[in-house]
């Protein structure tokens, strides 16, 4: 595929790093948040933070959908998975997220029929192949993933499938960003905007960041040069006293998003009054549920779910990591009690999670970061 190697060119990367160095004001500390877990992953995988001047700090945002899922929702999913006759389907990362009493993987070991799928379409296929069983899909993700669930539900409805249900945990990106910007804990100078969420919603929904909060945001792609370029664009805006939404990833992201995707989202989902985020508490209008037209597919209406709110484990500091208040390695249990093999917190589970990304790619740079 074209447009991959070009965006990993080491020579260009070094040149861009030089331009970034030239754009920073000596003595000023810059704190930029990469909203999306995909960017966190790229930053560690390619060692991007090693190319940045010491006074440009990247902090990780709440953009890993697996990481922000609260424990109570995992417990609710496990309760459904244990019902007789249910085939429970979910994405791979989700299987290892700890609930208050084990994960979906543990539920599978205990006899529940939990199956990993790569897409909601796979889950629908399982439903069609097992008409005498209820097949539940644990839907999770931001606006990048929500259209996939929505299209699958629309397909299930059109095909008259009656044994397919969705436990909807989809979330939207703007409300948590607003919550972060309203939080007194953080002093951010700018944002690297999520590339593939923006493929769906466009760059326009982020206009509130410069308009209401006076901060720049640059929507960026996921290759190393994309991220470096975005950092440079943010620093340029700051140096020139501008703050606006810029689209670094214009080769993919239309400013207005994918209108067909927005249409199907509006048809299939509606906003919940509030939804709980791990470590961030309840955020108004930040979660999606199935609309009245799709109520017949709603697993939460089909089954009684406990709906219990479970506090995060005491030792776990995922909340602070998700808000960018602390670095992953500053958590008390990072790399000791909490590892990708035996995670305590969600951030250590998904490869997009800041802790897992740091553990897998960045833990040896720790001393440098401390200084």
């Amino acid at each position: 595929m074209r447009y991959v190697e070009e965006f990993r060119d080491a020579e260009l990367g070094r040149a861009l790093a030089g331009e970034i160095l030239a754009a920073v004001e000596p003595g000023r500390h810059y704190k930029l948040m990469e909203v999306c877990g995909g960017h966190t992953h790229s930053i560690y995988k390619y060692g991007i933070d090693d190319l940045l001047p010491a006074n440009v700090e990247l902090v990780h945002g709440p953009g890993c959908p697996v990481c922000v899922i609260p424990m109570g929702r995992v417990d609710d999913g496990i309760a459904i998975a244990h019902r007789p006759g249910v085939i429970f389907t979910c994405f791979g990362d989700m299987m290892r997220i700890p609930g208050s009493d084990g994960s979906l993987q543990d539920a599978k070991a205990a006899g529940a029929d939990v199956r990993m799928v790569y897409s909601p379409l796979d889950a629908l296929r399982i439903a069609k192949a097992n008409p005498d069983r209820d097949v539940v899909f644990f839907a999770i993700g931001f606006e990048t993933t929500a259209p996939s669930t929505a299209l699958t539900l629309r397909r299930a409805k059109a095909e008259g499938v009656r044994n397919f249900f969705c436990m909807c945990n989809h979330v939207t990106i703007v409300p948590p960003l607003r919550a972060l910007l309203d939080s007194p804990d953080l002093r951010l100078d700018g944002f690297i905007g999520p590339g593939h969420v923006s493929t769906v919603v466009g760059a326009r929904p982020f206009e509130f960041i410069p308009a209401d909060y006076g901060k720049p945001i640059v929507v960026a792609g996921f290759e190393p040069l994309d991220v470096l370029h975005a950092v440079h664009m943010i620093l340029r805006q700051l140096a020139e006293g501008r703050c606006e939404v810029e689209n670094q990833y214009s080769r993919v992201v239309p400013y207005d998003g994918n209108l067909r995707a927005l249409e199907v989202l509006a048809e299939v989902f509606e906003l919940r009054p509030h939804f709980e985020w791990r470590g961030m508490g309840f955020i108004s209008q930040s979660g999606l549920k199935l609309s009245a037209a799709y109520a017949a597919f709603d697993a939460e209406l089909r089954y009684e779910v406990p709906g219990v709110r479970v506090a995060d484990p005491k030792a776990c500091q995922c909340g602070e990591v998700l808000k960018g208040v602390i670095k992953p390695w500053e958590c008390k249990v990072f790399g000791t009690a909490c590892t990708p093999e035996r995670p305590i917190g969600t951030c250590m589970v998904s490869s997009e999670g800041a802790c897992a990304a740091y553990y897998n790619f960045g833990r040896f740079a720790r001393e440098r970061e401390v200084v």
Binding site: K45, G92, D93, S119, L121, S148, T149, V197, T199, V253
Partner: protein, 83 residues
Amino acid sequence: MSAGPAGPAPWDAAPHCEAHAGCITCGDTAVPMRVRRVDADRVLALCEDPEGRRSSVEIALVEPVAVGDALLVHAGTAIGRAP
């Protein structure tokens, strides 16, 4: 990440995401795939990723597509066109 037709069913494979490759389904990332066959009636296309793995992809958001087109695929759905 994706199991081929001859391999074990995906739900039998170890539930483990490749940390080095990133998780294509649940992160905010999409992978470029090339269209190999189009089933316009069912709004699906058989697509192939750069490693040669094939899967059915929902194409409602990017229609019309033709064999050879490059799509950005996330969780089995093409959310855009790859450049």
